[in-house]
Symmetry: C2
Subunit: 316 residues, 2 copies
Amino acid sequence: MPDKLFRLRRSEAPEQGRRPVMVAICGDSATGKTTLTRGIADILGADRATAICVDDYHKYDRAERRDVPFTVLNPDCNYIDIMEQHLQLLAMGRPILKPVYDHSTGTLARPVRIEPREFVIVEGLLPLHSKLSRACFDIAVYLDPPEEIRRQWKLRRDCADRGYTPEQVLAELERREPDSAAYIRPQRQWADLAIRFAPVAGHEDRKDTPLSAEILLRPTIMHPDLSHVLTDDDRRTLHLKLIRDSDGRPVDALHVHGYAPREDSRIAEKAIWEQLSIDTGAALPERLGEYAPGKRSEALAIAQLLLLWHLLEARA
Amino acid sequence: MPDKLFRLRRSEAPEQGRRPVMVAICGDSATGKTTLTRGIADILGADRATAICVDDYHKYDRAERRDVPFTVLNPDCNYIDIMEQHLQLLAMGRPILKPVYDHSTGTLARPVRIEPREFVIVEGLLPLHSKLSRACFDIAVYLDPPEEIRRQWKLRRDCADRGYTPEQVLAELERREPDSAAYIRPQRQWADLAIRFAPVAGHEDRKDTPLSAEILLRPTIMHPDLSHVLTDDDRRTLHLKLIRDSDGRPVDALHVHGYAPREDSRIAEKAIWEQLSIDTGAALPERLGEYAPGKRSEALAIAQLLLLWHLLEARA
């Protein structure tokens, strides 16, 4: 049980008044935010992690949005000032009464009381939109798979889970593009970790090869020392490269190869896990890297481990 | 237009960052809270007054309440900590996303964004329950008509507007009595103004005589100087008496006689109005004292005027 494990790091006495660690998982729709969030929340356990989605701060329900000139990606379509206020309250360890947007019906439902636990994971379209909201986070993550992959993911999810037709989803993607460019993608600049799940360019993956990932470890926060993980043996799975970010600033790019053999990936995961956990010899969480029942991604597993490292480090 | 009038008192420039005046209108159900609140909010105008009801902080909807061992009067049936938080935010001039309880259906609906104006009027069952909530108010009012009158009012309203049968209302009153005694009535001690609409004891009112009122002006805040209003001519309408409060503390009791001729009452109202407003000669608001379309109560009018005086005084 990783949950019990992590506890060993901390005093046995409950820490009253201690502020939670806040992490933002930001990105456009269908970029894997919920998968990453659930994975982390699951590993930490419900008694230690609170996960919320700030897309619940929509001002309008689906029917009303037909009459407004912007999409849900637009800050004007959301109660941004209330989102900021609620993030501030959570960051101070105080409860909120959070609005609820029901994706299945497209309606605004009764709000729920949310109590911040040790870790608050905030996913959504616009958590990094404003300076006030960004100031609430200890760690900010941005997910940006290539547009073609995001399109596939959105088609699959919105048709299967939200009752849309493929034509509706494609039309919606097109309608959202200007707001996506204006409000969602600019948030990438504020991320400490920018994660791109994608096939490796130039590598001929066989069909069904799990996705690889490029994880930018920006020097805005301290990252784990991966030098002993990145031994020659592990190069097939992971390698770290000093590059320039899209804006020219220096950044570490961690490449996780989806085509690497599972055994190799596990070695790398264990090495990070040992650095992260205290009680060496503890087992890796079973569900690490799981993105659907029975389906795993080593790239996701590495991303989750890095994020766990950051959460526990911020808490330490 | 009283609205324009009041403005003369203040600078023409908008006062950014100025905190609103907060008033609580507290009392058991069907004590006239909404009538008093609406009257005041109406006279001040929607651009100057924000009126909210803190009964919207119910935790459970009507169906769920069948399975809980307490009534809506019980703090455990309400998100008191969220109510406190929202009152604090409003008192600081910040917006809130307020939950909404729909009395007609008994369900919790989508929340609404509330922006505090210059005056925030907060009515409800428990606004004075906790020390933190009380600390948010500049003026606190408690309404306590005699139980028999409240019963009549509740029967009339709940049967006409909320779809209950008289038997249901009477059973509910009985069921609520322990929580009413334990949580609602104790709040009377925290009021600056305790208002009791009732026939005058010992006075044989004819049928349809409007109710009189006893208004306790507690020395917890400064009250208007009524000495020039209470001339001999006005004694039929109003008189002020130094008495002991139910806990023994000294208090001024203002008696407003519902049986006084309308002309006399108007003289007293005008005298208070002139003290309250600045630009003498302004007309009394038309709807002062109106509690139903075409129905007026001089006692209500005096109570409203006193409260207006307090609101404007706190703002000055």
